[in-house]
Symmetry: C2
Subunit: 212 residues, 2 copies
DNA sequence: AAGCTCCTCTCTCTAAAGAGTGATGCGGGT
DNA sequence: ACCCGCATCACTCTTTAGAGAGAGGAGCTT
């Protein structure tokens, strides 16, 4: 313990668009002897810039942020440094979000309603390059396994379906025929195991495939 | 300024299901000379219990919480003390949520991405029984004005529509005929100014009429 | 080159949704 | 007593959605 205090502290960057959340995390982290916050970011672009600037041990990242989506930030940061240690911390528990982040190389994923202790131990785990995922989140990630994933085109169509567009309207917007739009919608219904388009939207939202 | 320091501090209760957010708010509030956090709550029931126990000057309340919805908490607390000063602090900016809370008597409403200063001045305003609403939120509240509100039955139907149920299915679940279900759906479409049920769900979600 | 996925388009046919209109009965309020 | 909003049901008619079954071509992998 005393020996550990002499080692360099874990450097942390916090990226979250809510000042309140950053304050809360910063207070928690800086209270610990073995870690410190070296920078904060309020949006995706800033998160990447600060990461480049400080190269911290751990990047704590919210998923839904202005300017650049959390998943995109994960991708970009790992591109800059494949050994980056990223801990996702968000309120979104859709299996798609979780799957995307973890499969792209994030080291940890936990929810904002996690107790303080769990958050701190997650940061420590990730700082040592050990993956950390709470049991409930891990269960969701496993749920996602085996489920068919949608193609990009299907996601495009799904987005429009979620906005309440008709097949004809979707066809017009994507410059395809109504028949093709129907084909995509049909594929979506099959993959999401939904009977109607409205149910498909509900399922997709629950899974985090779309964000209304 | 020096005189103000001698007056009693503003007592605050924080109700939010995220420990991190509570920590952040608590740190911010306790750093101020003129206010202090006297209790915290992690769900709706607890918020009511703590309010009764401490009767604070201000209750800072998150809307989406376990056990009891924020709107229900507002209602109950104002029932216990019609002069209660409640500040809503949430991520949800649907006009229905805003309208519900403010029309029921909440003194303020702001979003979690608000800067620190705005949050603190909102607490001060509310503590003096002055209403505080950020301009963007106020604009939303005005949007809601004039728009027709749905009846309880229509909300029941809307909920099922949002889950992807068919008219026939909805009729079965509510023990009414399919024709009646159609009538309700039609009324919903008219009131929400939507062409299809899927669009109605999108609009309803945006407005905060339903929470998927 | 063969195999693969994905996007595209074209049929038919049935079921469901939505527009339009009207009507009954219940309950609350003036 | 009267009015009015609400929930309930009924009827017709048009449009849209969705099931089913192919099929061609672009692009990528092995």
């Amino acid at each position: 313990m005393a020996a550990e205090l002499k080692t360099r502290r874990i450097s942390v960057i916090l990226a979250d668009d809510h000042p309140v959340v950053r304050d809360g995390l910063a207070a928690m982290v800086n209270q610990q002897a073995d870690m410190e916050v070296v920078a904060e970011a309020g949006d995706g672009d800033e998160a990447i810039a600060r990461y480049e600037q400080y190269r911290p041990d751990v990047l704590v990242l919210d998923l839904r942020m202005p300017k650049r989506d959390g998943v995109a930030v994960v991708q970009r940061v790992l591109e800059l440094n494949p050994k980056a240690r990223i801990l996702i911390m968000t309120t979104y528990d859709g299996d798609e979000d979780i799957f995307q982040c973890l499969s792209q190389g994030a080291k940890g994923y936990l929810l904002k309603d996690a107790p303080r202790q769990e958050i701190l131990s997650a940061i420590r785990a990730v700082s040592e390059d050990r993956p950390y995922t709470s049991t409930t989140v891990a269960a969701k990630a496993l749920q996602r396994m085996g489920k068919p994933s949608l193609t990009q085109r299907e996601l495009d169509v799904l987005q429009l379906v979620a906005e309440g567009r008709s097949n004809k309207d979707i066809a017009r917007r994507l410059s395809i025929t109504e028949g093709t739009a129907k084909t995509h919608v049909k594929a979506i219904l099959t993959k999401l195991d939904a009977i109607s388009r409205t149910e498909a939207v509900a399922v997709a939202h629950k899974r985090g495939l779309i964000h209304l």
